[in-house]
Subunit: 717 residues, 2 copies
Amino acid sequence: MSSYDNVLESLKKLSIEPNTVSHDAVADNKDWSAIMQPSGQVTKTLIFKPKTAKSAAPTPVVVIALEATETNAAALSRHLGLKDCRFANEDLLQSTFATTKDAVSPFVLSNVADLSLVHLVVDASLLSLNGADRLAFRAGANNQSVLISVDELKNYVASLNKDITEVDFAALASAPAAAPAKDAAAKAAAKAKKDAKREAALNEESHQMGIEYKKDLDFPRWYQQVLTKSEMLEYYDVSGCYILRPLAYNIWKEITNFFDGAITEMGVDDTYFPMFVSNRVLEREKDHIEGFAPEVAWVTKAGNSDLEEPIAIRPTSETVMYPYFAKWIRSHRDLPLRINQWCSVVRWEFKNPQPFLRTREFLWQEGHTAHLTLEGASEEVYQILDLYEQVYNDLLALPVVKGVKSEKERFAGGYYTTTVEGYIPATGRAIQGGTSHCLGQNFSKMFDITVEDPNWEGPDSKKLHVWQNSWGLSTRTIGVLVMTHSDDFGLVLPPRVALTQVIIIPCGLTVKTTKEDANKLYDACEDLAKRLKKAGVKVKTDMRDIYTPGFKFNHWELRGTPLRIEFGFKDMQKNQVTAVRRDTRLRDTIPLDQLETGVKQTLETMQNDMYQKAKANMEANIARIDTWDQFVPALNDKKLILMPWCDRTECEDDVKDRSARSSNDGEEEDERAPSMGAKTLCKPLVQPTDKPIIPGETKCVACGQDAKHYMLFGRSY
Amino acid sequence: MSSYDNVLESLKKLSIEPNTVSHDAVADNKDWSAIMQPSGQVTKTLIFKPKTAKSAAPTPVVVIALEATETNAAALSRHLGLKDCRFANEDLLQSTFATTKDAVSPFVLSNVADLSLVHLVVDASLLSLNGADRLAFRAGANNQSVLISVDELKNYVASLNKDITEVDFAALASAPAAAPAKDAAAKAAAKAKKDAKREAALNEESHQMGIEYKKDLDFPRWYQQVLTKSEMLEYYDVSGCYILRPLAYNIWKEITNFFDGAITEMGVDDTYFPMFVSNRVLEREKDHIEGFAPEVAWVTKAGNSDLEEPIAIRPTSETVMYPYFAKWIRSHRDLPLRINQWCSVVRWEFKNPQPFLRTREFLWQEGHTAHLTLEGASEEVYQILDLYEQVYNDLLALPVVKGVKSEKERFAGGYYTTTVEGYIPATGRAIQGGTSHCLGQNFSKMFDITVEDPNWEGPDSKKLHVWQNSWGLSTRTIGVLVMTHSDDFGLVLPPRVALTQVIIIPCGLTVKTTKEDANKLYDACEDLAKRLKKAGVKVKTDMRDIYTPGFKFNHWELRGTPLRIEFGFKDMQKNQVTAVRRDTRLRDTIPLDQLETGVKQTLETMQNDMYQKAKANMEANIARIDTWDQFVPALNDKKLILMPWCDRTECEDDVKDRSARSSNDGEEEDERAPSMGAKTLCKPLVQPTDKPIIPGETKCVACGQDAKHYMLFGRSY
């Protein structure tokens, strides 16, 4: 959404329906006064930054004035008791107001996390206009303006819960040191001095708090800061291991609740197998263990004693479990046998670790099942794949592409592998989101898991090796979620997996507020929380009295809290709360008598909006190509590629080589612009229907041989 | 409950209210006929065992006859086509009928797991009596009889869903080879032959299935068989590690759901810390680590590479977490900080492992919290202790004693330790069921976890070390549950933690049943299951057609399934189901139109009965003693001991030495009669009020010094 659309939407929330006008219309010889019938004025909005101590947070001054008013910065500075007001630079505009120089309007105030640090100045000559007079505001970096009435502007400003300073610029200009102005300046200076020490400390804290890197500019550092500053994750003194703090662990808990409920319904039972594996068992299936052996961690000592033989920590549990499958399955009546466990596994990777995506210990579930027939096994493979898709779509608000892995990419020792593939827009890389494998009879032959064929009608009996599946989903999910949804202000959490869905912040308290009034406000906030909690909403209040509302806004925004409810005296009078969505940062009001339904509806809408947005983004970044010369450019444009393919491993290897950007020095070199070659991601279950593959006619885009189906390619984590 | 009480209760379930009569009354010159006005007869019940193949299950014959009838075993054998009927021995009476020779009555049929293997013969002359005539039955190994009418006996037999063979013993005696008898014998013989092969196989399976050891006679082997044959647990090829199968894991899941919900409500958040700990961190708190060091497992290799320095697997997480507490807690406003994790920990014990009780890896939750004040910390310590008590009482139907550990027994590095102590009746040993520790400021001083004292009014600021708690509950709970509730027939599970609460078994199908009727019965069973599932009951049906109902009864009984619903054609006609409780093995009927409420009520009653029974048993086994000479005898009588104590470690050591039975060769020597000395278990929170400790007057029972309080002592796991 453009910032122009944002403006229209936020005004609409205040029941302000602005007219809009194209500047071209003005250029076409229609002047402003004609457009603004019966009467009105063009305006300007200016943002200044007074000089402050380097370590302190900036305290910008926003001036809303008539275009015609002469706004002298120096006079204004003196008047406000501030030092050296200068035009704010792009950095400040971006970081504090989420805007650019050519899109400044009063409405960027909605983007400000902490309005307590902002001085809001309104031109007295503007306020003296009639309430119905029209004002034209530039509303975005295009040639559009919006027209609203003076009263509507006043309503908008009131909705911010922010005191304004009315300034008579003409008077300022003519009498720079006039008495009233001097008084105001002196007052402001005194107040500033009084609060200086406290503010300095808080500013310091506030500064440390924010994300210092832009997602677009330094994605790896941004990712790291979002994780740590949101208090999702803590780095740990054993490399490749991380602490999952409550915010992160809760996401896993929600996934667990959903998925475990669904598989229980399917008839899968939970178990727990030991984390230790003997070498003998680990090595039973050679193909399989080859894939894991270099990463296996070995326990060789207990206390001061050496163990008789080293014992491995499970990297996955196929070879741990299947000897027992052989024991437990004695008849076809014991099938299907379906078990699952929630546990951690260890893969001691030596590549650079990355929180959630590549860690030496991670949490997952692993399901292991045995079936009488391939059909039975296959049916389950896709049921589970659907559940994984639901975890992504419905809980994490993330799109995935369901598909089947190529022979080269399938699970070591398995028969075929299905996958949900995610997409990280910032890096243009795909990520394997969860896999559901059909193992065929490979393991059952190795571990001798057999039953007598119940359908055998010949003499004696016939041994039948069972058909097996294994499927797993890990905490990697959380990494995909953070990388996709979060922004320069920090974490953005879909409501369904948020530990705290709603934060209530009392607003409008000043030094002048009586203790009685303050308590009234606090009590009212607690009442709101009680109502929401009763309605099943995960809600908290932030009553810490040493922090300003602005500080708290930042605090909870950084932590991805889906909805912020601001509640001040004006809200109280109007029987409403002000609610700000984390994803769009748009504010809205909810009438008090519709609090529960309003909040729940907003959370649901937000959940859905986040999914739709991510989905549209993924879809827009899957390039359909017809010729090879489109391949690398699309890849470098951070796209995944869907194209007719011959389904040959030789071609797959070739594509990887040909698409590697330059020297093949690994995927770590530059997170934003990886140079590694593209891999096959999956054969999507839903194949394009507009240009179906015509056998013998459609050619593989990479090699020109006959295409078998569409394949999704991409750089990948 | 005596078997006599059992009889009364099972008759009451059939709405049969028997009169009871003491044999003393008969001896006192009142003869039976006088007692049984208007008319009636004394009866006898005989149990014979025909000869069968050694490997086959016995097929006993139960004869209900008038006392006066001459019952010739040889003639009966010929009549039934069975070989050599002889009186059943005590073993068979106990294992199949749960009775003894002098307590045999028709009502022991209720105790039989598999009635399909039993022949039920009723004296024709008894059946020819008037329906209202009274019959006297011996009902237990005491001098009591019960009186019921002939009709009531018929009702009872009908409730068993078991066909009876009516035998005219007089005719048998006079015409041993009479035609009708011969026919019946020939028929029976033919049927027996036909089913021989199939039965032999099933009998073999059935034989393997049951528990071969008695709980009273060989507790360790009994425990092992209950765990493995019930399919709760599987032994594993790494010593000290076990596989938790669904039946066991589900108990842990129920505990998790309950406890996690409760602590979330308290404001505790879930986290996950890595399982690996660096040596440096592990050794930070010396006192603490001393307790764990000999059992720490060390990872020294990954793949083929040696690690730079060995890395430990957590034995507990105090030293893992607290460096981060120091980082996260920056102000008193961050307090209380409360986190919990569900994970596995490793303690590589070298003592004999025992499933659930002493394992090298086990599952637990560990809560770690920090508070501003000791009061705040202490309040939580006891809140958690209450929750642990609720886990035992409400979920596991087990009693515990809440109390405080002695100085000697408290957590290494802690301030004080509270505990819930359980009791294993079969061994007379106590077991520490869960501990909630106040760590005081020991760890916060070691890890420098401080805040500025918010209540300090002096100059500058004052650093305050936080007060910490840690608390843990493990899968050991499952061991206590199995050891306490289970019986010679296998596992007994309280309904609230059972994976399957109700098993529905179709009954009464014979070779004569038409396919249509069979399908009708199967469908009806599925309908029952659907209704119960909808009502929130965890229900399964056992429709396997190769197994007899009796086989299935054993199967599900062994697995502790709380309620068995038998549903046959007679039930269908009567619009009822027959329900058999696992704990009491009593049968009852539930009208079909009250199925849901009836089943749920029965499960609730069972849950409560199991708790009350275990509680009464524990209470009966806590001996109050006044003199030391009562101590060892009480201990050897499998009791715990509650007595006034001086609270001195020296005395505690002395008690242990003096109460060790003989050579101190460890607790492993004999599970049933451990010889190790008694430990202090806890100072119960609820102290006896009948003889309160009078300071300076009441003396320590062990040493004669002044007693401080009552202390619970016992042999302990």
